[in-house]
């Protein structure tokens, strides 16, 4: 298997940076999973698609807007009226292909096209609020839910994977620029880049 090369390049600088007077407020990491697949349903088929994705991944996934699920091996969340972003291991595409018939919808492999960046820590909401015009408070954005939003030209599909942990899926070609913005936004809180 050929290893994928991270697009972050020299912009990825492990270690602590920024204002560390109160310790790093966030950890930043690249956490791109082996497989990222966009699953899209035909009108009226989103529930069937959610069931199919659930069956293939073992996730408890609902078809409600913004819904999502987080598991050990896989995650999924709604990114549009008929769409989920599903992540998992190397066998994800094969499993989904088996589970999702053409009558339900289609699958598109984005394993190379999207990069997952993780922002975690007590100041994660604060840092992300600098970049996105959505409400990151736990009451408004519960764990496992997803949001599709944008920071200027950078589309981001965001899942809350823990009380103070968010995984952001961005276009690969823009990942380095966005990473730099993310680091800059994190300087005030202090940040640690972890592998």
């Amino acid at each position: 298997m050929v290893e994928r090369i991270s697009p972050l390049g020299a912009a990825f600088r492990p270690g602590r940076h920024g204002n560390l007077t109160a310790g790093p407020g966030v950890q930043l990491a690249e956490v791109t999973p082996p497989a990222i697949v966009e699953a899209a349903a035909w009108p009226g088929q989103k529930e069937a698609l959610a069931r199919a994705v659930a069956g293939a991944t073992g996730l408890a996934l609902s078809a409600l807007p913004n819904a999502g699920a987080v598991g050990e091996q896989a995650t999924a969340f709604s990114i549009g009226p008929h769409r989920f972003l599903v992540t998992g291991g190397d066998d994800l595409t094969a499993r989904l292909t088996e589970a999702v018939p053409l009558e339900t919808g289609t699958l598109t492999d984005l394993s190379h096209g999207r990069i997952a960046l993780r922002v975690a820590g007590p100041r994660a909401e604060w840092v992300l609020s600098k970049l996105f015009a959505i409400d990151f408070a736990a009451a408004a954005f519960p764990v496992a839910e997803g949001r599709a939003t944008a920071h200027h030209d950078v589309l981001a599909q965001i899942q809350r994977t823990g009380p103070d942990r968010f995984d952001l899926f961005v276009f690969r070609s823009l990942a380095r620029a966005f990473w730099e913005s993310l680091c800059a936004a994190s300087e005030e809180a202090g940040y640690e880049v972890v592998r």
């Binding site: 009108p43 913004n66 549009g80 009226p81 769409r83 959505i134 599709a148």
Partner: protein
């Protein structure tokens, strides 16, 4: 200004791309009525008051939404998925 996306909830206008008048009817694709095509492509009601219009949630779920909004006050009066309200006129091909 906030646009109430039926999928994502209310979002700032900066996430949306405006696509204009949503009352125009696209003629039947096979139609050769140039006047009807001309009206569809060029003419707009452009009311001062409630206006039905398309917004695409381009910085979000990418759905097209039909929004009713007052052009005098910018108050949003309602929103629905465009896919539930096809603007294709004539017979369906």
């Amino acid at each position: 200004m906030l646009i109430p996306c039926p999928h994502c909830g209310p979002r700032d206008v900066q996430e949306f791309s405006y696509q204009g008048d949503a009352t125009r009817k696209r003629p039947d694709p096979a139609s050769t009525d140039v006047h009807a095509w001309h009206a569809y492509v060029y003419d707009r009601p452009n009311p001062a008051g409630p206006h039905r219009e398309y917004w695409q949630h381009i910085g979000g779920c990418r759905a097209h939404i039909v929004v009713e909004r007052d052009t005098l006050s910018h108050e949003v009066l309602g929103a629905a998925f465009a896919s539930d309200l096809s603007n294709q006129g004539g017979t369906r091909p």
